[in-house]
């Protein structure tokens, strides 16, 4: 299956989306990412029971943090798909890339040192 997804998406593999923490999502935004999304297993199918549900709650929390700071919460998203859904993976990647293109680049100043 040769499916393509946008080259400007950087994939970071984790053993389970339960490993993704609030700070990882915030650090990505702080480091200048235009958007971040978590691709977890389908709900109810987590090997660790609720890693993907916890990830969703963390995404929700980060959305609230961004809203408080006047940044579009849509820059952070949670998606669920199974590892057998390669086509869906590419579709989600394209969907997120499109959404970010509409929102435009990150509102964070690029040239800052901190």
């Amino acid at each position: 299956m040769r499916l393509s997804y946008p080259a400007d998406i950087k994939v970071i593999q984790v053993p389970c989306t339960g490993r993704v923490d609030i700070i990882h999502l915030l650090n990505a935004i702080e480091d200048g990412a235009d958007g971040v999304y978590v691709a977890g297993c389908l709900e109810g199918e987590c090997h660790y029971r609720e890693g993907n549900l916890k990830a969703r709650r963390k995404v929700t929390y980060v959305k609230k943090v961004l809203t408080d700071l006047g940044i579009e919460p849509e820059r952070v998203e949670m998606y669920n798909l199974s590892s057998a859904q390669g086509a869906r993976f590419a579709e989600i990647a394209n969907e997120m890339a499109e959404k970010i293109k509409t929102l435009g680049p990150t509102p964070l100043a690029k040239d800052s040192a901190a």
């Binding site: 935004i29 702080e30 943090v65 700071l69 964070l108 100043a109 800052s112 901190a114």
Partner: protein, 225 residues
């Protein structure tokens, strides 16, 4: 434990708006347990503030440090004079922390990052409730183990007020009337008559009304035992 809530981000950003470089200090005590001022919360607050300031085009440099406790001088002293390298310091401990810090490092400005609320415990994940008001003379054994000083809005000691309705306090519909619970508990135990006796006036001298309190243990003051 001492329970606290983090201050809103706008308030914290306002405290350090003129700063370029700050230190955020967490505490591994109560505020770690109530998920408000431990390592994770220090990291999240620092990242949030950096994002806000980058967005404003006025980046803020933030160093992070988590002390074992901020209510003991031996731990507070671990920060050392490097605290003076920052424009300001935010403490994520309860109100005791920034005071111990201010007392030790007189040149620096310390800001409280949390609102300290009460002594209580978690009744479910993410929910904390008040249980003790630190009155200095504990008497919960007289009330079926439930504290009417901390848990009755009026701190009544001789039974419920007329506003108690179906187990709910008249002051707040979200709050149980603790006197309803005390009476029910004593009735179920067949000990209702325990509540009938007239109690002596409570001395509030041991509570906050007597001014700031101090606890002295002579044997410890004299040295290790």
């Amino acid at each position: 434990m001492i329970v606290a809530d983090r201050k809103p981000i706008e308030e914290l950003l306002g405290m350090v708006e003129d700063c370029k470089k700050i230190l955020v200090v967490g505490c591994k005590g109560c505020v770690t347990v109530c998920n408000v001022g431990g390592l994770k919360e220090v990291e999240v607050l620092a990242a949030t503030m950096k994002i806000a300031r980058k967005k404003a085009g006025n980046p803020l440099e933030i160093a992070e440090h988590v002390l074992e406790r901020q209510c003991d001088r031996e731990y507070v002293s671990q920060l050392g004079e490097e605290v003076n390298d920052y424009d300001a310091v935010l403490s994520m401990a309860c109100g005791v922390g920034p005071q111990f810090l201010s007392e030790m490092y007189k040149e620096q400005s310390f800001f409280p990052a949390v609102n300290t609320t009460f002594f209580g415990g978690a009744t479910q994940h993410g929910v904390w409730e008040e249980r003790c008001a630190g009155c200095g003379t504990c008497g919960i054994h007289m009330f079926g183990g439930l504290c009417p000083i901390a848990r009755c809005a009026k701190s009544l000691l001789h039974g419920p007020c007329g506003g108690s309705s179906n187990g709910i306090c008249e002051v707040n519909k979200e709050t149980e009337c603790i006197w309803d619970s005390i009476v029910k508990k004593k009735m179920e135990a067949g000990q209702l008559e325990d509540l009938l006796g007239v109690k002596n006036f409570k001395s509030w001298k041991t509570a906050r009304d007597g001014g700031p309190r101090r606890s002295i243990r002579e044997e410890l003051v004299q040295g290790n035992i």
